[in-house]
Symmetry: C2
Subunit: 389 residues, 2 copies
Amino acid sequence: MPSSPIRKLAPLANEAKRQGVKVYHLNIGQPDLPTPQKALDALKAIDRKTLEYSPSEGFLGLREKMVGYYAKFGITDIAPENIIVTAGGSEAILLTFLACMNPGDEMIMVEPGYANYISFAVTAGIVVKTVTSYIEDGFKLPPMEAFEEVITPRTRAILLCNPGNPTGAVYSPEDLRKIRELVLKHDLYLISDEVYREFVYTEEPYVSVMSLGIPDNAILIDSVSKRYSECGIRIGMIVTHNRLVYDTVMKYCQARLSPPLLGQIVAEASIEGTEEYSRESYKEYKSRRDFFIKGLNSIPGVYSPMPHGAFYTVASLPVADAEDFCRWCLTDFRMDGETVMMAPAAGFYRNPDLGRNQVRLAYVLCREDLQRSLMLIRGALKAYNHREV
Amino acid sequence: MPSSPIRKLAPLANEAKRQGVKVYHLNIGQPDLPTPQKALDALKAIDRKTLEYSPSEGFLGLREKMVGYYAKFGITDIAPENIIVTAGGSEAILLTFLACMNPGDEMIMVEPGYANYISFAVTAGIVVKTVTSYIEDGFKLPPMEAFEEVITPRTRAILLCNPGNPTGAVYSPEDLRKIRELVLKHDLYLISDEVYREFVYTEEPYVSVMSLGIPDNAILIDSVSKRYSECGIRIGMIVTHNRLVYDTVMKYCQARLSPPLLGQIVAEASIEGTEEYSRESYKEYKSRRDFFIKGLNSIPGVYSPMPHGAFYTVASLPVADAEDFCRWCLTDFRMDGETVMMAPAAGFYRNPDLGRNQVRLAYVLCREDLQRSLMLIRGALKAYNHREV
C-alpha cells in the first residue's frame, strides 16, 4: 500500500506550523472558494430530530437533481436508477474497482495519474498497467498503440481522469473516439473520473464517457466536492447503465449502510440555482491558471505545460529529487516565516524512474497567495541549489 | 460478495410502501430516538464559508473528546494519536481488516455474527472461519476449544462484537480473560466491535478490549451512531496502540482523503454534556427489551433468549424458511394495511444449514410500534402457516 504523495508530507507541514511558520498549500486540491450560499443555507435549515441512515444508494432527491445536472451537459438518458451516491469520489472509485474486477485482473491508466487510484487498485487486488504521457507533449493522451501494448487477456478496464488530475490534460473528442473503439474492440470497461468536468478551458467541446454510446462499458465517477467547493461533505457518485455493475456496487453499498446524510442535503441544494456561482468559479480558476502557469515558467529552470482543465499542473523543477526538495521546503526553508508545500510527482507515476524532478501543484489559492507561493518556490529553489550539504 | 440480509429485502418494502402499506422496520438498527439536542444545536451553529476537507485521521477536537469518553469507562491510556476517525463503524471495520491482514489470511468470528463483517472480509480477501454460538445457550461465547479447532498458521485475528449484533450477547470478564490468553498464545489481533458498549443490561462489569492489557493485539472498533442516535452522520473510529496497524490504516485513510466534515462536528458535540441523554436512552432500550422479548416469547412457536446488550435479538420462528416468511410479509401479508419487516438470520451465519428458521429483530421502535409489530408477527405467522400454497 503506497503512501499518498498528496498527504504523506503532512506531518512535516504540521511541525512547521507548530513552529509558527505559515505554509502555502499547493499540495492539495482544497479550493479556497466559498461553498455556494444556497448550500450553506440548506445546511442551516436542517430540521431533523433524528440524524438517521439514508438509503444505501443515496436520497432519490439528490439523484434526481443529478439527472437534471447531466441533462444540462447534453447527457439525457440518465435516470435516478443509474446513480449511486457514495462517500466522496474516493468511495466511488474503490467500489467501482471492486465491482468491475476480481483480484488479479488488470486495469490500464495513464501516468502520471491520480495517485490514490493506485491505492484503491491495491485495495481491490487489481494489477495496474500504465501508459505514459509526457510533460513535453503537454501530457496528451498516449497513442492507442501504447494501450494495445499493455492489453492482456486479464485486462478488464481502462481508467481515465478527464479533465486530468494531476496534469490538467483534457482529452479531445477525437481522443475519446479512439478510446471508444479500443474498449469496444477488447470488451473493456471505460471508467471515467470527470469530477473536474466544469473546469475545462479549451474551445473544443468536452465529451463525457456517458456520451460515447457505450452504455454497457461506461462508468462515470463523479463528485460535487470540487465544483461547489465542498470537499469535506464527502459526496460523490457512480453512474452507469450496466445493471450488473450497478447491482454489484449496491452490495458493497449495503454493507457500508449509507452515504453521509448531512452531505447529501448540502449536495442536493448545490446543484440547481447555482449557475452564477459556477460561472464565477470557472472565471476565477481560469484567471488563476493563466497567472500561475506564466509565473511558474518565469522561474529559472521551471517548466509547466499549459493545463487545459481542472486546477492542477505538473511542473518540472531544476532539482534531481523533487521529493527531497519538497521535504526540505517544509523542514528547512523559511522566507519571512513562510514556506510552501508541494506534492512530489513521482508518486503519480508507476515507473520509479519517471517524474523524479516534477511536482504537482494545485492553483486553488487566491491570486495573492499564488503570487507569494511563486516567490517562495523561486527563493526555495535558489537556496536549495546553493545550500551546503 | 453476499447481499446484506438487513437491506436486501428493501426493494420489497419500498414496493409495499408504494402500495400505501405501513411497514414496521424491525430489520435495521435505526433507532427512533432523537439525536441529542446539543448535537443538533452544533449542527445549526456551523458557520463555515467553505466546507473543506478535514484531516485524514479526523479532527483533533473530536479525538480529544473520545479520550475523555474512554476515561469515563476506566480506559485511561488512550491518546488522540491512538484514534483514527472513519466514515462510520463500517469503514473502521474495512480499514482494520485491510491493515491487519493480507489476502488469504484467516480471521475467526462467532456466528451468528454481523453479516457485513463477512462482506468486508470478502472485500479484503480474508478467509473467515466461524465458531458457532447457539440460541439454546443464549448465544454465549463458544468454548476456547472451538476457537482452537479452527486456528491455523494463517489465522491472524479474532473478531468479537461485544455487545453482540445480532444476538445481544455480552461477554463476561471471564470470557474475555480466556480470549486474552488465546490471542496471546497464538499472537493474534483481537478486533472488538464495541459500538453498543453503552447498552449493557447485566450486572456484571463490562470489559473492553482496551482494558485487557494487550496493547499490541487490541484494536477497538467504535462509532457514535447508535449511542447518540445519529447513524446518518457516518462517524466511527479505530482505536489502537499498535503503531504498525495505525500507520497502515492511515495510508488507506489518506487515499480516501478525509472522514465526513459535518458528521465530525455533530459527533464532537454529542460526547460531553449528554450524560442525562445517555441515561434516558439506556432506560428506554432496557424497557423496550423487557417488553419486546416477553411479547415475542408469548407468540406460539416463537423463542427468543434474553439479550443482555445492544438492541437486537435473534429469535426462532415456527417456519422452515424464515427468509421466505420475511419476503411474504412484505409481498403478501397485510393487517389493517400494515406489515412488518424482519431480517432473515441465515445471512448472519456462514454455515448454510444454520439459522434457517431464525430472524434478527431490532427493538428500536417506540413501545406502541413494538406492540403493533408483535401483533403483526403473530398474525403473519398464523396466516403464513395456514395459507394455501
